[in-house]
Structure formats: C-alpha cells, structure tokens
C-alpha cells in the first residue's frame, strides 16, 4: 500500500500536465492557446507550492509524520510546472525576444515578482537530492526556507496580474498567508517552551 502511494501521487501530480498536453494536441484549448497554457501551468505551480507548504502544518496538526516523504516530490512538481510556465512565457509568448523579456522583468512588477518566485525555486530543486541534503546539513533547512519567499512572490505575482483583485488570486494569497502564519505561530510557541510538546495549532 505504502509502496504504491508514491507512484500514485506522482501520477496524480502529472495528470494536469497530461491533460493540458492532450487539450493542446487535440485543439481543445481556448482561442488564445498560449494564454491557456500560461494560466494552466501558472495555477498548478501555485497549487503545488501550497500543497508543499501544507505538509508541515499537516504533520504538526495530525501527527502524520510520514507525509514528509512526499514533500520533495510535491516541491519538485511545483518546480516542474514553474519551468513549464516560464518556458511558455519565454518561448511561446515572447519567442526569445530577450530585450522584451528583460524589459518586462525590470519594468513590470508582476513579472518581477514571478521571476523572483521562479529563481528562488532553482536552488531548492538543485539541492533536493540526498547527496546535497547530507552535504549541506543544517544549512539545507535554512536554504530551503526560500520556499517562503517563492510562495509569497508567486501569490503577489498572481494578485498583480489580474485586472480586478477578486476571487482566485485573493484566495491563494490568503491560503499562503495562513500557511506561513501557522509556521510563525508554531515557531514562536516552540521557542518559548524549554521542552516543546507536540501541541495542536
């Protein structure tokens, strides 16, 4: 059962990509397919960031510590969708027009935020192997707090992109804020106690 869990989660996490590819290849995207691909890969990046960030609170609240063994894969899926998202922008949308891309990153706050979110994920993906975890030791955990920056920047990226701040971008920002707040509160309590107990949130 547990042996099946990982491949199963892998398949589920890959499904949005396969569905998107199917729609693209069968001409079932919208009249603006590039926008469709951009939005779909972007939203799945955000979803996997949220799921990855939810693992720790989930462990703390439920005590289900084995959830940790799926975290790396979920985080890497966030990166996978982020790579697709950024590639869509660079290749399909602007077709390697680097002058326009650099101008966008410098001048468009929502693209700046998106790029921050993406760049912050790169070292996390690169150091996600067992070897790097061993080599970095305690610094690995410190480094991987970059995901907080990435998630905040991703939420801001989405909020700044839309014309009216209602609905989905607001919900994602709220969920990410709640997940980070949980950590802050937990960390604060944890530090105050000399002998930390697994308290409920």
């Amino acid at each position: 059962m547990l042996k099946l869990a990982k491949p199963l989660i892998f398949a589920i996490a890959l499904a949005p990509f396969l569905w998107l590819a199917t729609r693209a290849l069968t001409g079932r995207l919208s009249a603006n397919p590039i926008e469709d691909i951009t939005l779909t890969t972007g939203i799945w990046t955000l979803r996997f960031l949220v799921i990855t960030l939810a693992i720790t609170p989930l462990r703390r609240i439920t005590g289900w510590n084995r959830a940790i063994q799926y975290r790396r894969m979920l985080g890497l899926f966030a990166f996978f969708y982020a790579v697709l998202h950024v590639s869509t922008y660079v290749v399909l949308d602007l077709f390697f027009a680097w002058d326009l891309i650099l101008a966008d990153i410098a001048k468009r706050p929502f693209i700046t935020a998106g790029m921050v979110a993406f760049v912050a994920m790169i070292p996390l993906a690169l150091t996600s192997t067992k070897g790097w975890i061993r080599r970095l030791g305690r610094r690995w955990q410190l480094l991987h707090r970059l995901i907080y920056l990435s998630a905040i920047a991703a939420a801001v990226h989405y909020l700044w992109k839309v014309k009216v701040m209602v609905g989905s971008p607001v919900y994602y920002a709220a969920i990410i804020a709640a997940l980070l707040l949980f950590r802050a509160v937990w960390g604060f309590r944890h530090r105050r106690r000399t002998n930390p107990q697994p308290a409920e949130a």
Partner: protein, 331 residues
C-alpha cells in the same frame, strides 16, 4: 428579429451552415446538430441574401440558437485585407464581466440573458429624448458591415466583421443641444440574468463615455450583428458600441441608455482603477499599461506577437481629433 417582413430561410443557406459545421468538427461543438435543427424556426432571411452568400465563402457562420440573419446589410463599408477571426473565436473568447471574469465564462453564462424585448433610452441634453424599442431605433437606418480590428487592453486582438449603424445617425436623430459635449452609455443592470453583477468586481452597471466628436466619428458604430447575423449574447447583444481605435473595454455592450451630458462622464474601468484606465483609452503602443507593455499584441489565431499600431491602425482617420493633446497624460 429586427425586421419582421422577411421570407423564410433558403435551403441553400442550410447547406452552407452544415459545411461550416463540418469544417469545425475538430472543435468542441456541444449539441452541434441541435444548433442547426433548433434554430430553423427563428431564421428570417431576406430574398437577396447577398451577405450570407459572401460569408458562406469566407468560413462564415452557423446560426446558433438565438441568432437571426440580418437582411439588407451593405457589405464591406469598412474592411481590411487582414484575415477575419472565425465565428468560433469571436464568440468563445470574450471579456464580459457581467457573465464572469474568465474568457470562456461569457459563452457559458450569457445564454440566459433575455434580449427581446429590448429598449434603449436616449436622453440628456437633446431635443428629442425618447425610449425606443430596439427595432424602432435601428429600422430607419441602413445596416452596414464594418470589418474592424479589435484591440483589447490585455494585449490581444481580433478582426471582427461587425454589422451596425453609425452612431452619428442615432445622435443626429436625437438632436443634441450645444450643451451636449459628451455621450454617456450604460449597460443593462439585471443581476438575475447577469450573475457577475452580484459580485463587487466593477461598479455596476457598466458605464462608458465618448467625447461628442468621438461619438460622431464615422468609424464609431452601434453594432447589432456579427458575421451577418444578430449578435450573440456574449458579444454584447442586442446592441453594443464599437470604437475601433480604442481599447476594447470602451466598446460597451448590451446598451440600455445613451445620454447626452455636458461633462466627462464616469466610466467603469476608470472608476475601478483610474491609474490604469483613462477616459480616452486610445490604442497607443507608446504608452504602456502600468503592468504590461502595449507595444505588441497577439492576434488571436496567430503564434507570434505583432506590433501594435497607433490608434489601432486608424490614425489617418482619427488622429486629428487628438491634435495637441498629451496622449501620455490623457491615456
């Protein structure tokens, strides 16, 4: 439905529409058969149906439920040699926040809007204020086909074969007074049928405005149709404004009121975000939206972006209206 004294559908037309449907079999066509069968009772073609014949050759439309052919349309009064976007594209990818903020929401949700009967109130500073049934408003005028580029503020564009009448003709009928320096437009407010209006996305009802010279400009039309047929609800049925040198949001949909006013009227997007959406909102590749570039656009159906043209390519006709104005300030 605009003009009632018309003979029934010609058999030849039905064939054309079937061809149309076949060409688009690869596209999702929910209830495609029902579309053709179900609309037959609606159809009121005219005898010399030139326009439909023209459209049949250019990948023209089926007649989805609710659409009727428009008779006696003067073809290509304004045209372009650019490829016209398909009916499918024009009716499936829309910004019409009254029906949701997603591009596919209007197509999904606009069906429940009742567009008949429809009244348009024309009032304010004019000699002949009146409330018209849509039919009475349109009937005295010659319908014209106007193939225009449409540039959305979100940096995508289409080429759309509208059918409509010059707004100037309606304005002249109302006999505006010298006080009438601006024209204000209002969209229907009916949250029961436009569920987007139950949410605080914009300050409902949607409103828009033009300076009098812009409203009188021969390129400015009130559109009642698309591809030779009455408008689909998602495109602003039954009557909408089309101002081709301005960003799409200026072309207000489903209009119920046209008012002559003596000052610049409030407009929906300007109220929502004055720093990003100005009253004029002329297409201008040199003045970027604060959050994205307006220098390029994606023509729906094309892969590479193309350069955006000043005044959406209508500069020769409209630039003189803005001579001496700082278009950076008056964005």
């Amino acid at each position: 439905m605009l003009i009632r004294t018309t003979p029934p559908l010609l058999a030849s037309e039905i064939t054309d529409e079937k061809q149309y449907l076949r060409r688009r079999e690869f596209i999702r066509l929910v209830g495609g058969a029902a579309v053709v069968a179900g609309t037959a009772p609606w159809l009121e073609a005219c005898s010399g149906d030139r326009v439909s014949a023209d459209f049949a050759g250019t990948g023209g439309p089926a007649v989805p439920a609710g659409q009727s052919p428009l008779p006696n349309v003067k073809p290509k009064v304004v045209a372009t040699d650019e490829t016209t976007n398909t009916f499918e594209e024009i009716t499936s990818y829309n910004n019409f926040y009254e029906f949701g903020t997603g591009k596919d929401d209007p197509q999904r949700n606009a069906g429940r809007l009742t567009t008949s009967p429809w009244k348009v109130k024309i009032d304010g500073h004019c000699g002949k204020p009146a409330e018209y049934h849509l039919e009475d408003l349109i009937r005295p005028h010659q319908l014209e086909e106007r193939i225009y580029r449409m540039r959305c503020v979100e940096a995508w564009s289409m080429v759309i074969p509208w059918v409509g009448i010059p707004l100037a003709e309606i304005i002249k009928r109302a006999e505006p007074t010298s006080k009438a320096t601006f024209v204000a437009f209002t969209t229907l407010h009916r949250p029961k049928e436009m569920f987007g209006q139950t949410q605080p996305v914009l300050d409902w009802p949607y409103d828009e405005g033009l300076r009098m010279d812009e409203a009188m400009h021969p390129l400015t039309i009130l559109s009642v149709g698309l591809y030779g047929k009455t408008l689909m609800n998602q495109n602003g049925a039954p009557i909408r404004l089309v101002v081709p040198w301005k960003y799409g949001f200026k072309s207000i949909k489903s209009i119920v009121r046209i008012e002559f006013v003596d000052r610049m009227p409030p407009t929906a997007w300007n109220k929502a975000n004055p720093g990003e959406y100005g009253f004029y909102s002329n297409v201008n590749p040199e003045v970027d939206h604060p959050r994205w570039t307006q220098a390029t656009e994606r023509r729906i159906g094309e892969f590479r972006r193309r350069r955006t043209l000043m005044f959406n390519g209508y500069g020769d006709q409209v630039a003189s209206m803005y001579a001496g104005m700082d278009l950076r300030k008056n964005y």
